[in-house]
Symmetry: C2
Subunit: 137 residues, 2 copies
DNA sequence: ATTACATATGTAATATTATAACACTTAGAG
DNA sequence: CTCTAAGTGTTATAATATTACATATGTAAT
């Protein structure tokens, strides 16, 4: 028989708490704060901050979500698990956050890093902008 | 007579609290946390967190210091008041932080931003590294 | 199946980071 | 001199995050 049955299940299966936190972030699509997540998932059985933070930590570690440091919030990764390098735009007026998918930009940054002989293990880029709808109004 | 005497003094003179907080950050050279600053300056008359946060907010606004979001810390600006664009390296092992002065890198980022037609008002770049002394050990 | 181990869970307490509200003071422009 | 914007001092409280510890669960090897 093939050896496929021997591969670890861990990489595929999330625990219940990790699952419900990930689902909430997935469905929301926007950055959420830990205590908002806690409130939202009380009915699913989440009772304490620690349960939320533990799930969030694990999901960050797995690259499934990112933490946006400047707003203490977490957002689903929409780059199919980027290698923990992150780049966001944050609207200075309304706070709306978008993950930057622009490959030219991120490749450019990676090249710059290489050219400058910085041995970067990962990076987090936060670009502050005025988003389209805020610019109009 | 010339109009030079009408220019505001505000842009030059810091208040006492702003001054002592700035001096501490200047002398330290490394990132400090708000409550550490508070403890350090108790003897100078700082009594409450708010006094520290107000001074820090103002100094950030003036571009004299930067906040490093991912470690909730503040560091003196060593680029003679950069236009609120910031770039740091953070050692993943020992936590040591350095502001990146590399003009090629920051110009490169600015160019990338322009090329991608992102209308950035400012940015904060956090590069995680393994610093020299941590790499050796 | 049973043990061993790493990982996750549940819970309470507490630490850390940051802001709200309010009364008062000071510096600088007119 | 007076008005105003900015800063101060203080108390209380909000928001964010972790420590400690006992228990439970999933997986791999026996």
């Amino acid at each position: 028989m093939s050896s496929t049955h021997t591969h670890s299940k861990k990489s595929q299966s999330l625990t219940k708490n990790q699952r419900i936190v990930l689902d909430l972030l997935q469905n929301s699509g926007e950055p959420l704060k830990a205590y908002f997540i806690l409130d939202s998932l009380k009915k699913e059985g989440l009772n304490s901050p620690l349960q939320v933070y533990r799930a969030l930590d694990k999901l960050v570690e797995l690259g499934k979500i990112h933490k946006i440091e400047s707003i203490n919030s977490f957002i689903i990764c929409n780059n199919s698990n980027c290698a923990s390098n992150t780049a966001f735009t944050i609207c200075e007026r309304c706070g709306k956050v978008k993950e930057i998918k622009n490959k030219y930009l991120t490749d450019g940054v990676s090249d710059l890093v290489k050219d400058n002989q910085l041995e970067i293990t990962r990076y987090n880029l936060e670009f502050y902008v005025l988003c389209k709808s805020c610019k109009i109004n």
